[in-house]
């Protein structure tokens, strides 16, 4: 926002560029340390190293991600339309909040709930096996139907009030409304949403690690982990990593061209009133669909609470894992914040920085965690392994993974503060630390808190980084849960999952309070 002073020169607030360049440089080093060894070793091995195993893993990755996306979109579409048509019913708010839950909770916690209900000894008595493709699909549908429903509902709520009035006046029937109003509105958002879900499923780690079955049902992300940690086969990890990078990197770049993965697409304003679907049949159909949604969502979440409450083993291991989780999570959040802050400051005042930062913070999406880990593993772990090194790699990885979610609220708030205060501060000659202390900090307290909590929540739920770098005596809550699952102590795993779930939900209710406008 340039303005002119008395002598007619254009004056703008120019935050220091150095911290921004430093942040970009650190990101560059982290990416290079992860990616260059992969590229280097991959180039030396040549394409001939692409053995049938890798092709099989790639095929399964695409198959499960494609099917998961298809099922999630279909389910999300039906649920979103039902919720859009039923604008007021008792418990609607509750259903909408429930839709946020699967992705707000750490994935390992949700998986525990799913196994508790559908597993061999679960509530349903093991009606079908949840291991292999069907288990992965079930879990991905559980995560992504609510996500798709929320995003598609937001699309539908953007239909202008006049369109609903016109539809009513012109006598549109259900099919006409779908053809002329609903579908054209949904079609615009659908490719971006489908791409996001495909990306989440293609790089999902915890689900495939816990529910996948052997080499026939594994994905690139998990196969990399197995190559590094179980088979000690860095060559194979490198080839897998290259394939995974090509897949995810191109998907992220594609998504950026279609409006971005991190776009603010949640619904904001109250939706315009609709006049359709007032008859009994429509009400019964919608109620049925919403009930189906609840039948999908509620049991695993209830299972964690009911079975978990009586299974908490408050021992030293649990305590140590909790402390480790909180320490690592805080460090990751702080790291992500320190990278995001200077970038957000510059992005608020320059288009070039905004575009650049928007892409830079997606580093760990473009180069997926397992790919980065492969390079870091070769660079660092192969030479000297220690708990301190492992901890710093976990923190760095989690920081990178949380970066977009830390950057998003921060950059929005700083951009607002910049447009509100920049001219005034220039006029008053307020800059540097004085400005930060007196102007920015009071205005940005909540966004700063929000972005730190977001970073903490994401890191607390991480199973990827800790699996790749963790050791026997270096465990977080998610890796403790995974360990307990594997050592036939499933009830203890449910108890630990409940504790982790409560911790994360407490933090996200705090973040929700901070994200509401005052």
């Amino acid at each position: 926002m340039p303005w002119r002073n008395d002598t007619g020169d254009v004056v703008t607030v120019q935050p220091l560029r150095a911290p921004g360049y430093l942040a970009l440089a650190l990101l560059g080093v982290a990416l290079a340390a992860g990616f260059l060894p992969v590229l280097w070793m991959g180039a030396r091995q040549g394409a001939g190293a692409a053995d049938p195993y890798i092709l099989r893993v790639l095929r399964f990755t695409l198959l499960q991600a494609g099917l998961s996306t298809l099922l999630s979109i279909i389910g999300g579409l039906l649920l979103a339309r039902a919720l859009a048509r039923r604008q007021a019913f008792p418990g609607r708010d509750f259903v909408l909040r429930l839709l946020n839950l699967p992705l707000a909770l750490p994935s390992i916690v949700v998986i525990i709930g799913i196994i508790e209900v559908y597993g061999r000894k679960g509530w349903l008595g093991g009606a079908f096996s949840i291991y292999g493709l069907q288990g992965i699909l079930l879990a991905h549908v559980f995560f992504n139907v609510p996500l798709a429903a929320r995003l598609l509902l937001a699309e539908l709520e953007r239909v202008p009030a006049e369109s609903w009035k016109l539809a009513a006046q012109l006598g549109f029937q259900t099919a006409d409304i779908w053809r002329v109003v609903e579908w054209p509105q949904l079609r615009a958002g659908l490719p971006g949403i489908a791409l996001l879900i495909f990306l989440l499923c293609a790089s999902s780690f915890a689900v495939v690690l816990t529910l996948g079955g052997g080499p026939g049902a594994t994905t690139l992300e998990v196969a990399i982990y197995q190559a590094l940690r179980a088979d000690f086969d860095p060559q194979r990890a490198v080839m897998l990593a290259l394939v995974q990078f090509l897949l995810c990197g191109s998907l992220v770049l594609l998504a950026q061209r279609w409006g971005g993965l991190m776009g603010t697409r949640a619904s904001g304003a109250t939706a315009a009133r609709r006049y359709d679907a007032r008859r009994g049949v429509a009400i019964i159909i919608d109620a049925g669909l919403i009930a189906l949604g609840l039948i999908l969502l509620l049991p695993p979440l209830l299972a964690i609470i009911i079975s978990g409450a009586s299974a908490i083993h408050a021992d030293a291991t649990l305590l140590r894992a909790s402390v480790t989780s909180l320490l690592l999570g805080s460090a990751s959040a702080a790291m992500a914040f320190l990278l995001a802050w200077p970038l957000a400051q510059l992005a608020a005042r320059s288009d070039a920085w905004r575009r650049g930062s928007g892409l830079a913070v997606l580093a760990a999406w473009i180069v997926p965690p397992a790919v980065l880990a492969t390079g870091w593993f070769i660079t660092f772990i192969a030479h000297a392994s220690s708990t301190a090194l492992a901890a710093s790699l976990v923190v760095a990885m989690n920081g990178l993974m949380a970066l977009p979610f830390v950057f998003q609220p921060l950059s929005t708030a700083i951009a607002q503060a910049a447009s509100a205060h920049d001219r005034l501060c220039l006029g008053l000659g307020l800059s540097g630390f004085g400005r930060f202390w007196q102007i920015d900090l009071p205005a940005l307290k909540r966004p700063i808190g929000l972005s730190l909590v977001m970073g903490l929540i994401l890191s607390l739920g991480d199973l990827t980084a800790i699996s790749l770098f963790g050791t026997q005596d270096f465990m977080t809550l998610p890796s403790l849960i995974y360990r307990q699952m594997g050592s036939y102590r499933f009830d203890a795993a449910v108890g630990t999952a409940l504790i982790l779930g409560i911790l994360v939900l407490a933090l996200s209710s705090l973040s929700e309070r901070w994200s509401r406008p005052r």
Partner: protein, 238 residues
């Protein structure tokens, strides 16, 4: 004729009461402060709102319980009168059949309506290739093919410049005269009322304070609130 008989309607904490007659083939402008219930009045006639008590009659028919599509009413809004992904011709055709089941005669009527509003060469265009005024003409063309005796206009030309607004008012007035429509138009521009409306109503706080022939209403000094609403406009505008 449109008649609102002892109609009460509650919106948030405003209690509205309407008891009025808009005579057949008249053109009534509704003016008054924002939030006073002008759009609600139109919504009650169109059937987008249902009164808590009282009746709405159009001609001799009690329409109080009828859904919007069964009322003899067309309504044009300030914005979003067209569906963005459909071309001009299809947008007009929806006025005849939502399923676009059209006879040869229907197609001819659509072409005639488009010619009447001056959009004959725009048939294939999408709304985002049109100006704001042209988009409103599409809505007028759709009202022409739907051919209902009541036309409601909710600040339809507020976003247009003065010259364009005059053109649109001329278009609507010609249509009203040719088809003997009963027109009710909400407007924020007193000069629009003076230019086009045979009658003008002053509406404030959910009540129609006065409904008179336009010239009389603007000359009146006995209408509470009107002078404050118009402010200096009368002395400057006349």
């Amino acid at each position: 004729m449109i008649r609102l008989a002892d109609v009460t309607f509650r919106y948030e904490d405003m209690e509205m009461y309407f008891d009025a007659v808009f005579t057949a083939a008249s053109f009534t402008a509704i003016i008054g402060p924002s939030g006073g219930g002008k759009s609600t009045l139109l919504n009650l006639i169109a059937g987008f709102e249902v009164p808590q008590s009282g009746r709405v009659l159009i001609g001799t028919q009690d329409v109080t319980a009828l859904p919007p599509d069964q009322r003899p009413v067309n309504m044009i809004f300030q914005d979003n009168n067209v569906f963005g992904h459909l071309d001009v011709w299809t947008n007009v055709a929806l006025g005849i059949s939502p399923r676009l089941a059209l006879s040869a005669e229907d197609r001819e009527r659509i072409d005639t309506a488009l010619a009447d509003v001056g959009l004959v060469s725009f048939k294939q265009r999408k709304p985002d290739e049109l100006s704001g005024g042209e988009r409103q003409r599409v809505a007028v063309a759709r009202a022409l093919v739907r051919d209902r005796p009541v036309l409601l206009l909710d600040e339809p030309f507020a976003a247009l410049g003065p010259a364009l607004r005059r053109d649109m008012l001329d278009l609507v007035t010609a249509m009203q005269k040719a088809r003997r429509l009963t027109v009710v138009m909400v407007s924020h521009q007193p000069e629009d009322a003076q230019y086009a409306a045979s009658h003008t109503a002053y509406l404030e706080a959910g009540r129609i304070v006065a409904l008179r022939p336009t010239a009389e209403l603007f000359a009146a000094t006995d209408i509470p609130g009107l002078a404050a609403y118009l402010g200096d406009w009368r002395s400057i505008g006349q």
